[in-house]
């Protein structure tokens, strides 16, 4: 059974429609990447699933339950965590407090402070610092750790490599196998196509609010991706 089933999702902001009938599914423990150019609707999609966006059709089924109408703070209790674009750390909270905020809902699971610190040791060193005093890569680690602290069954990651140096991106993606090991499904939005292809079981390409391509990384050709990405 799929952990997430999205059928014919439409969404938008006020008069502006951003998604036009998205179908997307994620299997148990699967890692799926969404690629697409700016404005293709990737972030809108993640926000809809996470419950941050109000104006969308309500056909999002998670673990057999329709969560389409649930607000964000209830969605996270069902087991979906979103690592938001731009990290969005709480500036007046320390690194450790940021992580603890992630565990606010007290869901049971494998993740706790100690495990986050062993996944990203640098954070233990800096745990008393304000979250915003860290480098971009370290901040991203806090954001991911904060998401994991809610012990999600599905982790949504929005552009976690954006604006980071290649070596830093590698450090962050090195954590992925550990996350997957517990059976956590991951949905990544990633601008770096090569990265997306190499880490995911399946990819979706969004273009102007629609799915333009879907498949396993080794089953889709470069040309297909190019066409789906740029709409040529």
């Amino acid at each position: 059974m799929n952990i997430l089933d999205v059928k014919n999702l439409t969404a938008g902001y006020g008069d502006f429609q951003a998604l036009f009938g998205i179908n997307l599914e994620i299997g148990q423990g699967e890692t799926v990447a969404i690629i697409g150019s700016n404005g293709a609707g990737k972030s809108t999609f993640l926000k809809s699933v996470a419950g941050l966006l109000i104006e969308h059709s309500d056909d999002i089924v998670f673990k057999g339950e329709n969560i389409g109408t649930l607000p964000a703070h209830k969605v996270v209790k069902r087991g979906i965590a979103l690592v938001p674009e731009g990290r969005r750390l709480f500036p007046s909270l320390s690194v450790e407090e940021n992580l603890l905020m992630g565990g606010y809902n007290k869901r049971k699971g494998p993740w706790n402070l100690e495990r986050i610190y062993s996944l990203f040791p640098i954070l233990k060193e800096k745990r008393r610092n304000p979250g915003t005093a860290l480098s971009g890569g370290q901040q991203q680690m806090v954001a991911i750790g904060r998401g994991l602290m809610s012990n999600p069954d599905l982790l949504l990651c929005d552009e976690i490599s954006l604006g980071l140096a290649p070596t830093t991106v590698k450090d962050i993606y090195d954590a992925l196998p550990t996350i997957q090991k517990d059976g956590t499904a991951v949905l990544l939005v990633e601008q770096d196509i090569n990265r997306a292809l190499s880490v995911s079981d399946r990819i979706y390409c969004f273009q102007e609010g629609r799915v333009s391509l879907e498949g396993k990384p080794d089953a889709v050709s470069r040309e297909e991706i190019k066409a789906a990405y740029f709409g040529m």
Binding site: A50, G51, L52, P71, A72, H73, K74, V76, K77, A81, L82, P84, R88, F90, P91, S92, L93, E97, L100, M101, G102, Y104, N105, R146, S150
Partner: protein, 288 residues
Amino acid sequence: MEWVNTVVQGVLLGGLYAMFATGLSLMFGIMRLVNIAHGDFIILGAYLGLVVVTTLGLSPLLSLIIVLPVMFMIGYVLQRVLLNRTLGTDILPPLLVTFGLSIILQNILLEVFSADTQKLPAGELGLSSITVTGDLSIGVLPLITFLVSVAVIGGLQFLFYRTELGRAFRATSDDQETVRLMGVGNSHIFGLAMAIAMAVVAVAGIFLALKTNFDPTIGPARLLYGFEAVIIGGLGSLWGTLVGGIILGVAQAIGAQIDPGWQILAGHLVFLIILIFRPRGLFPRSVD
């Protein structure tokens, strides 16, 4: 010696003003809400105390056992039912709705309790004082008021920085959207924030009613004192708020010493002077 006495009385008065201010500071800090009816809720607290004292025969301080939870609940319900609907990018709705509440509350109190002035019986507490030196004596009631105020601020400080709820409050203050991704429901958190602010208001109302005569119309002035203490102290700092309250209290005491008609005026003028020269207050939080 007379002046030392004046300053000491002013400092103690400042404790009460700090209590007026912490509720405002709390609401603004967590949900960017400025409650114009704040002063009228202080007076509501005073009247609730009066009702409890006269019907149950409890002593004024003990009346808090009932008044405090009642105000706490009023705060929570008010926020969930009414004020949450006003929050958003536009400042007009919360401002006008709470201003409306202020006028409604004042006039309801007027209808129910009439315009007669009331006072809670302070009894022995109101009369006794501690002699420090020959000329300087400190009233026990003002001293208790001040100490309670320090305890309230200390308690809130603990709540904010040492508890899980406080962490959620601070996170909400930072970023109302992201905090929802952590499983924090804004409506509930805002309700709790208002409830706690109202609990402080209850304490402030009882101590106000022990200290002075009150009637339904004196709420707005209390809003202004609290507001001035917040701005003098610098937004977002609870201990700064205490200092703000003390500065205001001392200014009023000195004003009153010069001419009784100048008490309140002196406080307002000191506030305006500080606003002109230190618009961000004396202890501003580094970033807004």
